[in-house]
């Protein structure tokens, strides 16, 4: 056993040495800091008011360039923003969407949206090519954005990230929050502290006071960043709360089952000598 431990220790030390050697290479680009979120941890759930504020930020700011390929009806999710059916109907109707099929005369036409429709792409950029032509690079679809952004945590942190009570699954939210707060060089709207190489195609999208919250939350960049990061996390993973709720039951069931099996096994084997 001692030899075993020594070997593992040697392996760990070696790996730690390698990490130090690699870490120096990208020292000048800080990693996003870990924020505290209502949806982190074993019992995490989304904060409905925060998601509604985040949606407001998306609608008033982000949606000018970014599409969000989820249906309007998703906003009714009781574990998510939890808007009422009527609110969603009214919201959908305020958008003009292109009908899938042509009309009787063979013309493609636009009509008011229904809850079953996806959010239409931004008016100025009907497709990625149009956006890339105007902006240099097509803004990514926000439906999967929070899932699609992670960053290297390095050894040994990536091991701790998997362990109970410290599990770290909110990298996407932290990344979005960091990027929105990373425009720290005044006079250069495309310099971002957290973006690889510090050159980001998206000029600073939002500043203090850009959106007026109706619930009294201070209209500060920090709040916008936090709220929209939470909203986008929900957009990319609307089943998170249900997953954690079922997970708790499954864990309790399995632990009880394993305990019972352990004692049964002991009992069965105790007959041997």
């Amino acid at each position: 056993m001692i030899r075993l431990t020594t070997n593992f220790l040697a392996a760990a030390l070696m790996a730690a040495g390698m990490t130090v050697a690699f870490a120096q290479d990208d020292a000048e680009q800080p990693k996003p800091e870990r924020q505290s979120w209502s949806f982190s941890g074993l019992f995490g759930v989304y904060d409905q008011a925060q998601l509604q504020r985040g949606f407001q930020v998306y609608k008033e700011v982000c949606s000018n360039c970014h599409k969000l390929s989820i249906p309007f009806r998703a906003l009714e999710d009781p574990n998510g923003p939890g808007y009422s059916v009527d609110q969603v109907k009214a919201l959908a109707a305020s958008y003009q969407v292109t009908n899938d099929e042509p009309n009787d005369k063979g013309e493609i036409f636009k009509r008011p949206g229904t809850p079953a429709d996806d959010f239409p792409p931004p008016e100025s950029f009907p497709n990625d090519q149009a956006a890339a032509a105007a902006l240099g690079k097509a803004p990514p679809d926000m439906a999967e954005l929070a899932e699609a952004r992670k960053y290297e945590r390095g050894f040994p942190w990536f091991i701790f990230d998997a362990l109970p009570f410290d599990q770290y699954q909110e990298m996407g939210a932290d990344y979005i929050y960091a990027i929105l707060n990373g425009y720290t060089k005044s006079g250069d709207p495309q310099w971002n502290l957290y973006y690889p190489g510090h050159r980001i195609a998206m000029p600073q999208p939002i500043v203090d006071g850009a959106v007026n919250y109706s619930d009294g939350t201070p209209p500060k960049l920090d709040n916008y960043a936090r709220d929209v990061a939470a909203f986008l996390t929900w957009a990319s993973e609307p089943t998170l709360a249900e997953r954690k709720k079922i997970g708790l039951r499954v864990m309790i069931f399995l632990i009880v089952l394993a305990t019972l099996l352990y004692f049964t096994k002991k009992r069965v084997w105790s007959g041997l000598h």
Binding site: A11, M14, P140, P238, A258, W269
Partner: protein
């Protein structure tokens, strides 16, 4: 090594059926009466865990295939549809993606256990080779499964791996075009990968049946590596002893599996696979899934593409020759002090290569990977053959029963065994 109590049907219907198809007798002799060495530790429950995982992957996979669309334009959206709109689709998909990782975790423990306790040695060479074939099929299945969501990393991974075939002289490019069904990875590639991803698991089932058959002919190895001499003293019946122990092992493994599925479901998924595939945009840092990383590191450590591909293939194929590469007559690492040191160094090489495979390439990583790759091959082709010739092994227990008794009642074991 057939179990002592044979199957006797209790009912008239049972007797009628058994005389026409003796399947109940087969099940009884394989999973009830089958004698199991009594000194097995919990590492021997991984066979049951792997059988469970194979079943879980097939069941979840069949359900996913009901909702998935194998088309370059629709695949990504269909996976999103599964995650968002299909009832419990998120659960089925997380069970399947994390299930693949759990399957590999279990198979690696199973393989390292086999190496540590010399389970590939006579009379279990065919059993071991069948295991290596299962492992190869698993890697092929997992690789093609990873391509199916048609994310950015799926596409990059498919391109990198299939491009390895172009390293073959003369016919390489032709082979690659044939695999792709075109001049690059595209819709035909995705379609055939889906078809094969559905087929291969059933081939795995077939080889698993052979694997279990071979196991029941040779009998299980055990931590002391001495063969069963006296069924009465050295073994216990599979049911209830091994059955209940396996069930307990599976339940513990399920806790780990459930932890991944419900609390850290995307921990092992690459973020780039949440971006739809785009042939014009390649991820900055292409990495395969964790279970293939050691081989990826070996491939990258070698500057020449053809030599790299040969080394990659050799790293896997050599495993099939372990029964002959290892010259030691003693099976268990428990009685081989020098082998033990090299075994753990081999484990360190594998884990180290895995870590390096996940890192971006630099001169430092390449050199460390080369050293570890030499360690990997050195263990297989130098350490194992040489150790068997020069190593001074510890004395083996006279029988499994003696080994068990020595552990529980040291005084009794010192006395000569009454009967053999």
């Amino acid at each position: 090594m057939s179990g002592s109590p044979t199957y006797v049907p209790k009912s008239a219907l049972g007797r009628w059926f058994e005389s026409r198809l003796p399947i109940m007798g087969l099940v009884h002799s394989s999973f009830v009466a089958f004698p199991v060495p009594r000194n097995l530790n919990y590492l021997w429950t991984f066979g049951a865990i792997l059988a469970f995982m194979l079943g879980a992957q097939i069941v979840t996979g069949i359900i996913l295939a009901m909702h998935y669309v194998p088309s370059a334009t629709l695949a990504f959206a269909s996976v999103e549809h599964i995650m968002r709109d299909v009832n419990y689709g998120w659960l089925i998909r997380y069970l399947h993606t994390n299930g693949a990782s759990m399957f590999f975790l279990a198979v690696y423990i199973h393989m390292f256990r086999g190496i540590y306790y010399g389970s590939y040695k006579a009379p279990r060479e065919v059993l071991w080779i069948l295991g290596v074939i299962i492992y190869l099929l698993m890697m092929a299945t997992a690789f093609m499964g990873y391509v199916l969501p048609w994310g950015s990393m799926s596409f990059a991974g498919a391109t990198v791996i299939t491009n390895l075939f172009t390293a073959i002289p003369l016919v390489g490019t032709g082979v690659a075009h044939w695999l792709w069904g075109g001049y690059a990875v595209g819709d035909p590639t995705l379609n055939r990968f889906f078809s094969l991803h559905y087929l291969l698991p059933f081939m795995i089932v077939g080889v698993v049946i052979l694997h279990v058959w071979a196991l029941h002919v040779a009998g299980q190895n055990n931590p002391d590596g001495v063969e069963v001499q006296n069924v009465e003293r050295d073994t216990v019946a599979f049911t209830p002893y091994a059955t209940i122990k396996d069930l307990f092992g599976v339940s513990i493994f399920l806790i780990l599996y459930a932890w991944f599925v419900f609390y850290i479901p995307t921990y092992l998924l690459d973020a780039d696979n949440s971006v739809p595939a785009n042939p014009l945009v390649t991820p900055a840092h292409i990495v395969p899934e964790w279970y293939l990383l050691p081989f990826y590191a070996i491939l990258r450590a070698i500057p020449n593409k053809l030599v790299g591909v040969v080394a990659l293939a050799a790293a896997i194929i050599l495993l099939a020759f372990l029964p002959w590469l290892d010259t030691s007559k003693v099976k268990s690492g428990k009685y081989r002090p020098a082998f033990r040191i090299f075994f753990w160094l081999f484990v360190v090489c594998c884990v180290g290569l895995g870590y390096l495979g996940s890192q971006e390439v630099s001169d430092t990583t390449t050199w460390i990977a080369r050293i570890l790759a030499i360690g990997y091959f050195g263990f297989l082709v130098v350490a194992l053959p040489v150790l068997g010739l020069i190593e001074r092994t510890k004395p083996l227990p006279a029988s499994i029963a003696d080994a068990v008794l020595a552990k529980t009642k040291p005084a009794e074991a010192a006395a000569p065994p009454a009967s053999r």
